[in-house]
Symmetry: C2
Subunit: 251 residues, 2 copies
């Protein structure tokens, strides 16, 4: 277990793997966790096959401070996440009476056995309650089981965020220029070597017909990031280009 | 190795894990592979850390017919995919002269050592050539190393697609209705049990203020899918709702 908290995400999503749906959960979880100083270190997108969910949950919960899953907690036959997570922890599912009561109020006569399945939590788990739905998400030890629908996944994440152990927030600034990456690669290598505590990333872009690059400096020390950003800007100026700092280059 | 081809994708992307960038490669690769009858079975998003790339490549190339990677093949210090893939295969990097020649023509005096790094391929690999760039992607055995920039990744995928062993194309139809998933869950379970060769998925949606669900039937036998779609539509009608087949419900 690393000394600073880290997180992994398991997207349980046949619809993502088939290309039918564009994932909409990775980015907000990555951003939300980053703000809490809990870098997202790995994402796995896997199908709704029990053995694969069990294996991914057990691998990642041993390697990271927190594991989030999205998808597969609805009332239909393909919603098997709760059962798979229970299996990963070696515990049975147990119907959670407070969730049943909440769902009775919401669904009234429409509450049926299929919907009640959403109140079955791994034994020892806590519900993640939100105003978005009467059916809960699930927390068991360091694993958080969220819905796949992005609005509900967000509500569930917001509900658990205050309970997470934060690390130092990861700060980030960026510099853009209409240069090829190869023009500035050597300078970036030098700057990265001089500042191993800052993570310097280079990302090419194509906007309209113009190429360019974004250089992103990330770290937990604001002063060091500022120094790195200034060095990157100076390297760009030395190539007779104008750096654009922390704002997208005009096109 | 399964009898039908399968694929895995490794997205090498600190910028995806930080939330700065929304992934734009998973969906087109999932769709493109599905059309070839090569279901995408797993995606991993990992940081540009050599050991993690090596581990993911070696795990997934043993488990799937094909492995694709995106990202990390540019000229900068954080572009380490080619070196990591070489390490995964236990071979050295070797400068590929035809790629050097191509890059000389394109870059002329701007060709420098940083850019020449893009011509270093794992020994025994073949370049994936496109009109999009002079620097190649990489094929080594069943692993395809593509660029991270979506337009270039697409061009590289299109270039290799004809060489892949196709499976039977995965066909898909869907039925939508303004019903809660729980209303139709039992019927879907019955239909799924009657047609184990068709993969029946249920996905709730929220459009404006209306909830609904999409039921997706996937498989390789068109007739079976048609039968399943009709059964799902009949189940929806039995609940006094109107199914919308293969088109989005009006909102």
């Amino acid at each position: 277990m690393p000394s600073e908290p880290t997180a992994a995400l398991i997207v349980i999503g046949n619809e993502i793997l088939s290309g039918r749906t564009q994932d909409a959960n990775i980015q907000f979880l990555a951003t939300g966790l980053g703000k809490l100083g809990i870098p997202l270190r790995e994402v796995r997108v896997i199908p709704d096959i029990e053995d694969e969910i069990v294996a991914a949950v057990n691998t990642l919960r041993a390697a990271h401070t927190y594991v989030f899953t999205t998808g597969g907690i609805g009332p239909t036959h393909d919603d098997i996440t709760a059962a798979a997570v229970a299996k990963a922890f070696g515990v049975p599912l147990k119907r959670h009476q407070p969730s049943v009561d909440k769902m009775k109020k919401f669904y009234s006569a429409r509450l049926n056995e299929a919907r009640l399945k959403m109140a079955d939590l791994p034994d020892g788990a806590e519900p993640i309650e939100t105003r978005a739905t009467s059916a809960p998400g699930i927390r068991i030890e360091n694993v958080f089981v969220l819905a796949g629908v992005p609005s509900i996944a967000r509500a569930m994440f917001d509900s658990v965020a205050p309970s997470l152990a934060h690390g130092p927030p990861v700060l980030s600034r960026f510099v853009e220029a209409h240069l090829g990456e190869g023009d500035i690669a050597d300078a970036l290598t030098t700057i990265q070597n001089e500042h191993p505590d800052v993570d310097l990333g280079s990302y090419p872009f194509f906007r309209g017909k113009r190429i360019g690059l974004s250089v992103v400096a990330k770290g937990t020390d604001e002063k060091n990031i500022d120094v790195v950003v200034e060095k990157v800007a100076a390297a760009i100026r030395s190539l007779n280009h104008e750096p654009s700092i922390d704002q997208q280059t005009d096109d």
